[in-house]
């Protein structure tokens, strides 16, 4: 099929996005068990950050390489007047790339919309209370509803029965736990995960969820054994309620419907632990710095772009 200059660019970009994403996903899938084992030896908040980074690598790597290498090399080295045939493999990869990203964006948008509707409905039927840093939105009825809902303006949603069943210390521990999720923007991370395509990376997502819960438990306990036992007791009390309807995908429930996970969390809370260090933005800045340095190096080395252009020519034909 003969394609015009901009269509070829779009086709190549989508094909690159798919190929890079798929290849890096497969490589990461092969190392999933080893990565999770390694994470188990880290502190919970570090393990959560490590696993989230690995889960997002394929999408970030594909986007970065396409935007920083493929597109500049094409615009710089591809003659604008030339018409060229696109091979079947390139077209198939481009179609898969388009499908992959469309599905991911649709999944993220749908999850965000559901979360928005859930919070709006809770606000309509519930009542806000408590001068806590994270106000509790108490909704009428029973069931095991304790979750941090909402992506940007998160709200702690709790059923009135659960709120009544917890004593003030336990309620404080639960609020601290959900506040830890709020501070580490876990719902936003869930949205980013939904938006970032990655094939066969469910193991990383599940492990990240587990470690992010552990990290929130650690931050809620803050090295205080009394507070840790209060949170453990709150978990058990909440688990005694009927599970009921699941909260939306972009909400962080206090407990998942998983006995083994609950038992592991309670056991962790009963072990005396030091308070986790406060999070710093150092790692984010180091990633941004590395990326900027990489872009600089690439732009200063035309040979790299020429090589990439050669690869793109092969992909196209």
């Amino acid at each position: 099929m003969t394609l015009s200059y901009p269509l070829r660019l779009m086709c190549l970009s989508l094909a690159c996005l798919f190929a890079l994403n798929f290849a890096s996903s497969i490589i990461l899938r092969c190392f999933a068990a080893r990565a999770i084992r390694r994470a188990e030896h880290m502190e919970a908040h570090r393990a959560a950050r490590f696993l989230l980074a690995l889960r997002l690598v394929p999408a970030a790597f594909a986007l970065f390489c396409t935007a920083a290498l493929c597109v500049p090399s094409y615009l710089w080295l591809e003659p604008a007047s030339a018409t060229e045939q696109a091979g079947a493999a390139c077209l198939i990869a481009a179609a898969l790339g388009a499908a992959l990203w469309t599905v991911s964006i649709a999944r993220g948008a749908r999850a965000a919309m559901r979360s928005f509707r859930y919070v709006r409905r809770c606000r309509r039927i519930g009542s806000e209370s408590g001068p806590t840093p994270l106000p509790i939105l108490s909704i009428p009825g029973g069931g095991r509803v304790v979750a941090l809902a909402g992506v940007f303006r998160s709200q702690l949603v709790m059923s009135s029965q659960v709120a009544a069943a917890l004593d003030p210390a336990q309620l404080d521990a639960v609020v601290r736990h959900e506040l830890a999720h709020h501070v580490s923007r876990d719902n936003l991370k869930r949205l980013v995960i939904a938006l970032a395509p990655g094939c066969f990376l469910g193991a990383y997502e599940r492990a990240w969820k587990r470690f992010s819960e552990w990290a929130a438990d650690d931050r809620a306990a803050a090295g205080d054994p009394r507070r840790a036992t209060d949170l453990a007791m709150a978990l058990v009390r909440v688990a005694r309620f009927e599970a009921g309807a699941l909260p939306p995908a972009l909400a962080t429930p206090l407990i998942a419907n998983n006995d083994a996970e609950l038992a592991a969390r309670v056991d962790r809370l009963l072990q005396d632990r030091d308070a986790p260090p406060s999070s710093s933005a150092t790692s984010t800045w180091s990633i941004v710095g590395c990326a900027a340095a990489f872009v600089g190096i690439v732009l200063l080395a035309p040979a790299a772009l020429a090589w990439v252009h050669g690869v793109l020519e092969r992909l196209m034909n």
């Binding site: 036992t229 453990a232 007791m233 006995d259 609950l262 038992a263 056991d267």
Partner: protein, 147 residues
């Protein structure tokens, strides 16, 4: 096409003992397994058992220095989940058993298990609180004596 097996494997005591050893290590030779068994068994007995487990699809093997090295195809958890799934699927597909009765029994059993687990966790937490109180009292005593 082969029909999907819905009945769980029944493993003998020796097979279970061998699987426990294989699960505890990334890879095991016949010699490794024989050395770790509770009772002394002939090399050929262990080899036959490993071969049988390989043929049942529980183990994978590769050749290393003219001998086979075995590793578990599934982790213990995955295997248990698979067996439980096969057991439930087998029960539900049997026309002699009404499926709604089986499901209700299963739900009851899960509920009882959940309650028992939560009771156990609550007991642990209460015990921990008692320990914390005791430690706090001891600490106060020591401080009072010092002052």
């Amino acid at each position: 096409m082969t029909a999907r097996q819905t009945t769980p494997f029944t493993l003998g005591p020796l097979e279970i003992a061998v699987m426990e050893i294989v699960w505890s290590r990334p890879a095991s030779s016949v010699h490794d397994v024989a050395a770790r068994l509770d009772r002394p068994l002939a090399y050929t007995t262990v080899m036959t058992t490993l071969d049988r487990l390989y043929k049942k699809g529980l183990l994978e093997r590769r050749k290393s220095d003219r001998a086979f090295v075995y590793a578990a195809r599934l982790s213990r958890g995955e295997w248990q989940r698979e067996q439980a799934g096969k057991l439930v699927a087998g029960l539900l597909s049997d026309p002699r058993h009404p499926s709604d009765l089986l499901i209700s029994c299963l739900v009851d059993a899960v509920g009882r298990h959940d309650e028992a687990l939560l009771d156990e966790l609550e007991r642990k937490i209460r015990q921990k609180r008692k320990d914390q109180k005791r430690q706090a009292i001891t600490r106060t005593e020591i401080q009072r004596r010092k002052s």
